[in-house]
C-alpha cells in the first residue's frame, strides 16, 4: 500500500496543475477556435457560421499589413538579436576584466518592461524631440532620422528598440553555451596552432547548435506575441503601418466589439507559432529516442 502511494505521489501532486492547464490553456484554445467559427460580435455567440471570420480576416488589408509587418519584424528581430548577441558573447568570452559587471550591464535592458523601452525609444527616435533634433542642433542641418514617423520605415524603428531589449539576453544564452564547450578540445586545437577565428567557426559554434535553437524559439515567440512595444512606440501608426497581429486582435476584441474576428486572428497567430514550435519539438523528441 505504502509503496503504491509512493509510486503515485508524483501523479497526485501534478494532477491539479495538469487539470488547470487542460482547462485554462487547452480548454480556452478550443473555446477560441469555436468562437472563431461563429458570428460573435459584442458577446460570445455559439451558432456555427463556417469560415466566414477567416474569409473576412484574409480579405482585410490591415491584416495583410499586420502579417507583413510580423514577417519583417520577426526576421530582422531574430537575426539581428542573434548576430549581436553572439558577437557580444564572443567578445565577453576573451577572459576580460570585470566581465560580471559588463554582462550585467548588457543584460539589464531585459529587466525593463517593453512599455518603458517603447516610451524611451519613442522619445529618442521622435524627429522633433530626439536624435534628429539633437544632431541638427549640433550643426548638421541636413541630418535626417525620421523612421518613426515614416509609414514605410516605422517598423524598422521598432526593430531597433526590440533588438536593444533582447540582444543582451541572447548574449547571456550564448555565453553559457560558449562556456559549456569542452575546454580540452579547444586547448588541443590551440596546441595544433589553429587560429582563434577558426576554432570558433569550426569547433565551438557547431557544438552550440542546441543553444541556437533555444535562442531562436525564445526570440520567435517574443516576436509573434509582440504587442506592448508597438502600443508604446507608435500605437500601430502612422496610420496602421506598424500594426502586428497581436495589436490587430486587441483592436478587434476590445475596441470594436468583433469577438469572432479577434478569435480568428488569434487562431492564425497560434498556427504560426505551431509552425515554428512543432518541428522543434519533433526534432527534440526524436533525438531523445535515438
Amino acid at each position: 500500500m505504502l509503496s503504491w502511494l509512493e509510486r503515485q505521489i508524483p501523479k497526485i501532486i501534478l494532477a491539479p496543475t495538469f487539470a488547470a492547464v487542460t482547462v485554462f490553456v487547452y480548454g480556452f484554445i478550443a473555446w477560441t477556435a469555436w468562437i472563431s467559427l461563429t458570428k460573435s460580435r459584442l458577446l460570445p455567440n455559439y451558432d456555427f457560421a463556417g469560415l466566414i471570420q477567416y474569409r473576412r480576416l484574409f480579405d482585410n488589408p490591415r491584416w495583410d499589413m499586420a502579417m507583413g509587418n510580423l514577417m519583417v519584424f520577426g526576421l530582422l528581430f531574430i537575426l539581428l538579436s542573434m548576430v549581436l548577441g553572439l558577437w557580444l558573447a564572443i567578445l565577453l568570452d576573451q577572459q576580460i576584466r570585470a566581465e560580471g559587471l559588463i554582462r550585467t550591464i548588457y543584460l539589464y535592458p531585459m529587466a525593463l518592461s517593453m512599455i518603458v523601452t517603447g516610451t524611451a525609444w519613442k522619445w529618442m527616435l521622435n524627429p522633433g524631440l530626439g536624435l534628429e533634433s539633437l544632431v541638427q542642433r549640433w550643426g548638421f542641418d541636413g541630418f535626417r532620422f525620421d523612421w518613426l514617423v515614416d509609414p514605410d520605415r516605422a517598423i524598422y524603428a521598432i526593430v531597433i528598440a526590440a533588438v536593444w531589449q533582447a540582444s543582451g539576453f541572447v548574449m547571456a544564452l550564448f555565453l553559457a553555451g560558449l562556456r559549456s564547450v569542452d575546454g580540452e578540445i579547444i586547448k588541443a586545437a590551440q596546441v595544433d596552432g589553429i587560429p582563434d577565428w577558426r576554432i570558433y567557426a569550426s569547433i565551438i559554434l557547431p557544438s552550440m547548435a542546441p543553444v541556437f535553437m533555444s535562442a531562436f524559439i525564445v526570440l520567435a515567440h517574443l516576436a509573434i506575441k509582440s504587442f506592448d512595444l508597438v502600443v508604446a512606440m507608435t500605437g500601430g501608426g502612422p496610420g496602421y503601418a506598424t500594426d502586428l497581429p497581436a495589436t490587430y486582435m486587441y483592436a478587434m476584441a476590445f475596441s470594436r466589439g468583433d469577438l469572432g474576428q479577434a478569435a480568428s486572428s488569434a487562431m492564425v497567430m497560434m498556427m504560426v507559432i505551431f509552425a515554428i514550435v512543432v518541428p522543434y519539438l519533433y526534432s527534440e523528441l526524436r533525438a531523445k529516442h535515438d
Binding site: 459584442l42 496610420g239 475596441s255 466589439g257
Partner: protein, 414 residues
Amino acid sequence: MRYCAIRAVMAAAVLAPCAAGAEPQAEVLHWWTSGGEAKAVAVLQQEFAARGGSWTDMPVAGGGGDAAMTALRARVLSGNPPTAVQLKGPAIQEWYEEGVLADISDVAAAQNWEQVLPQAISAHMKCGGTWCAAPVNVHRVDWMWANAEVLAQNGIGMPASWEEFNAAAEKLIAAGITPLAHGGQAWQDATVFETVVLGIGGTEFYRKALIDLDEEALGSDTMTAVFDQMRILRGFVDDNFPGRDWNLATAMVMNGEAAFQIMGDWAKGEFLAAGKVPGEDFLCASTPGDGFLYNVDSFAMFDVGAGDAREGQEILAELIVGPSFQETFNLAKGSIPVRSDVSLDGFDSCAQLSARDMNAASDDAGLLPSFAHGMALRGAQAGAISDVVTAHFNSDMSSEEAVEQLGRAIANSM
C-alpha cells in the same frame, strides 16, 4: 451590498436586521477619471447622496473606455450588471440586443424628456420604443479652433468653405506657420475626415454615406473629392504629426506654432485651462459647411430587477437629465447641456454658439451623429472606415483607390 451581506451573516446570531436595505443603490461604471471629468462625476454623486442614495463608484480608466467595456462584459456574463454604465450611440443598441437593458420610460414620461431633448438625440436613448439610457451632454465635433493673433497677422478670417481654408493655409505656409495642427492617430484622422465629408458632401450625403452606409454614396465622385481634400490637408500638417496626442496639437495652436485645429469642443477645455479667452486669444467656428456633428455621452441603464437598485436607477436617471446637473456638469466638461431649456448665461461664447447651432440644426435635420466618435455606426463598421481613412492619410494612396477600399472594407465588416 457585499458589506451588508457580511454584516448580515455576522449579525445573524443576534437577529439584527440589516439596515442598508432601505436606501436606493446605484453602482455606476464610467471612465471619467481625469481632472475636470472626475469633478463632474463628483457633482452627480453629491446630488445622488442628497436624495438619500448610496453610490458605488466603479471607475475603470484606460483605453478610451476599452478597459471599462471589458469589465462590463465580465459583469454582464456573470449575471450581475452595474446599475448604470457610460455607453453611447449604437453601443447602447448592441447591449439592448443582448437583452440586458432596463426600461426607464416611467422616469422619461414623468420628467418630460420627449419635449426637452432634441429628437435626433433621444432616438439614441430608446431601445425598441422604450427609454433605456439617459443623455449627459452634447459635444460638438465639427469645430475649427484658431489662434486669433496668427490669423490677424496674416490677414485671414475663419474660412467659410474648404477652398477658403486651402487658400488661407497656402498663405500661412508662405509665412512659415503650420496651417493645421493635427495628431496622427486613427481617431483624429477620422475626426477630420468626417468634417470634410460634411463640408463637401453636405448633410444629406453625410447621412447616406456614414450613417446608412449607402454603397452609391460611398463610391461616388463626391467621396473621391473628399479624399482629394484629405490629401490636400495632409500637406498642411507638419512632418512630426504621427502619434501626437490631440492636446499637444491644441497647444501648438495656443503657442502660435500652428494656426488651426479641427477637433471637438473638448479642445476648448485646454484653451480655457491655459487662461485663454474665447474671441480674443482663440477663435471658434464650425468647420466649413452646414450641419452639426454631435458626440453625446450617456448612461445606459442595465436590468437590475426590482428593489433598491431599481429605485436608485430611477433617481439616477432623473438627476442626470435634470437641469441642475446638466448645467454644472457641462460647465465643468466644456460641452453643452443636452436639454434645450437650460439657461446658457454661465457658458462661454463658443458653447452658446454651439447651443444655437444645435437648435437650428435640429429643426432642419442637420443634427447628425459623429462617426469618428462611435455615435453613427457600430464598432466594426466605424473601425473599417477609419482604417481606410487613416491608411489613405498616412500613405500616398490615391483617392480612387481609397474609395474602392472603402467599399470593400464596409462589405467585409458586415
